[in-house]
């Protein structure tokens, strides 16, 4: 009887159709762009050896995939990415948590974090290569350096902005500090941590490709470097497409994980 007067706030449902409408507009925009590029390039309105065109890029993609050139180098880049990215998540979240919980520690490291965040990470490539060699290790280090900072910064924000009422609820039932951290602070900071990880994907990919282009034996960045010295627009577009598709997939995957881990953060 009482409950009848209080309906759950679940009612709003138009989200799904809104998302698909947005996707449709996005797909249409990309299709329009590809069509215009095809017309301009294939009809030599602009020199096609400079700008290429989608059907040529697609053919080149098939050739490069079939010859094994693409796969072999992509695997090297993927390994380098994961070797840097996974430690960046682990260390970034751990450091961010420590800084978020200890104002003193945060004060000590904040200038360093701000400087690293604003410095052009690509400028570190030569130094990192000198220190760690031309192999996969230096690439992983670059990925790590690029990715760790946004993760640290967002974790700190997540921890310091945890709602006071969540902490209060735990304390009221007798929680000690480690329990407050485990039950209120870490889960409460999770959405911000996930945002940090998502933001760091783009920076990590840029760091990786830049390092590979600077000096390397294998990898997508190495291929970009090789084809750019021989004026091969189509190959470069293939490689850029592969790299950006990877970034897109990673971000989409992380978004999925985010909504699965913290469905509440979208609804507050």
């Amino acid at each position: 009887m009482a409950i009848a007067t209080e309906l759950p706030a679940e009612a709003a449902q138009p989200r799904r159709s809104l998302v698909s409408a947005r996707t449709a507009v996005g797909v249409a925009a990309v299709a329009l762009f590809l069509a215009a590029w095809q017309i301009v390039g294939a009809n030599e309105i602009v020199r096609s050896d400079l700008i290429s065109y989608p059907s040529e890029v697609a053919q080149t993609l098939i050739q490069m995939a079939a010859s094994g050139e693409l796969g072999a180098n992509a695997i090297v880049s993927l390994q380098e990415f994961l070797q840097g990215f996974i430690p960046a998540i682990l260390i970034g979240v751990a450091a961010g948590t420590a800084f978020g919980l200890s104002a003193r520690l945060h004060a000590l490291f904040e200038p360093l974090i701000v400087m690293l965040n604003t410095s052009p990470i690509i400028a570190f490539v030569p130094v990192v290569v000198v220190w760690f060699g031309v192999g996969t290790q230096s690439k992983a280090i670059m990925v790590f350096l690029a990715a760790v900072i946004p993760i640290v910064i967002n974790t700190v924000t997540g921890i310091t902005e945890v709602h006071e009422s969540w902490v209060r609820a735990c304390r009221a039932f007798g929680a000690k500090q480690p329990q407050v951290i485990a039950k209120a602070i870490l889960p409460g900071a999770l959405p911000a941590v996930m945002v940090g990880i998502r933001l760091s994907v783009g920076r990590a990919v840029v760091g990786l490709i830049a390092a590979e282009m600077y000096v390397s034996v294998r990898g997508i960045g190495r291929l970009i470097q090789v084809y750019s010295t021989s004026d091969r627009a189509a190959e470069i577009f293939v490689l850029v497409t592969v790299v950006s598709s990877f970034g897109f997939l990673m971000v989409t995957l992380l978004r999925r994980i985010e909504t699965w881990l913290a469905p509440w953060s979208l609804e507050r």
Partner: protein, 267 residues
């Protein structure tokens, strides 16, 4: 058991202009199974008093005793219900109610059954898998009440629990709280600034002064139970309302603020 005794309880804060006395010499007892409400003007420290009893704050002087033992640290023997509900948004209703049980150290195999029993008690059995953001305000506070009752506290401390709800829901929640209380007769200390709510629920009403908070009246409510919602129109009820309103009006005028205690349509 759940007899709560406040002995000469005072709290002062360090403020810019020296020490600010928030609560002055509070001295009263809440008997086992008694439902006591506290009313007072805004800022009189009535919520602060609950924080002292919960030991989320420490008094400057004086002691809180629960069944004779002095209270020194927060614990599940005194469960709080908050005005802002303070639910964990990433936990389902069931998991929110289990929070206190986890912190109390109840074995994992027993938590589910205890939590479900209390969720059913507040009428949310169909919603145990829902998240707080999917519930209305009244339903969220039911979760807050279930969470507090689940740890089987000696005393239930309620800090303006219905303050964030609209008027009708508020009355319904009050009457349901009474039904739950009449089944278990747990000691309840309930803070509100709503005079009608204070009378409707209470065995006894403690009226507090404006800052610094002191007890200015301790009124026994002799209205029969169970109390229907319409009891608010009973002449005995309106006499209580008038008496408390007069006590508080003095305080509000004396403290020289624009804030008025909430009183529903004076009869």
């Amino acid at each position: 058991m759940g007899r709560l005794v406040l002995e000469r309880l005072s709290l002062s804060y360090a403020a810019r202009s020296g020490a600010f006395l928030a609560l002055s010499n509070l001295d009263f007892a809440v008997e086992d199974g008694e439902f006591v409400t506290i009313v007072g003007p805004s800022g009189c420290g009535k919520s602060t008093l609950l924080m002292l009893i919960a030991a989320l704050l420490s008094p400057t002087s004086g002691t809180v005793r629960l069944d004779g033992r002095p209270v020194t640290a927060p614990g599940p023997d005194r469960a709080l219900v908050f005005q802002d509900f303070a639910l964990l948004p990433w936990r389902t209703v069931l998991a929110n109610v289990e929070l206190g049980l986890e912190l109390k150290g109840v074995p994992i195999s027993e938590r589910g059954a205890i939590a479900r029993r209390h969720i059913a008690m507040v009428g949310l059995a169909a919603f145990e898998r829902s998240y707080p953001h999917q519930l209305s305000g009244g339903m969220r506070q039911r979760v807050g009440i279930a969470r507090a009752l689940a740890v089987e506290p000696q005393v239930l401390l309620m800090d303006e629990p219905f303050g964030a709800l609209d008027a009708q829901i508020r009355q319904v929640m009050g009457s349901e709280l009474l039904k739950i209380w009449e089944r278990g007769r747990k000691t309840i200390l309930f803070v509100t600034h709503d005079i009608d709510e204070a009378i409707y629920l209470a065995d006894r009403i403690v009226v507090m002064s404006a800052s610094p908070g002191r007890v200015i009246a301790d009124i026994k409510v002799t209205l029969p139970r169970p109390r229907p919602l319409e009891i608010r129109n009973d002449p005995v009820f309106t006499a209580y309302r008038q008496r408390i309103w007069d006590l508080l009006a003095e305080q509000v005028l004396a403290s020289n603020t624009w804030e008025q205690p909430a009183v529903a349509a004076r009869a």
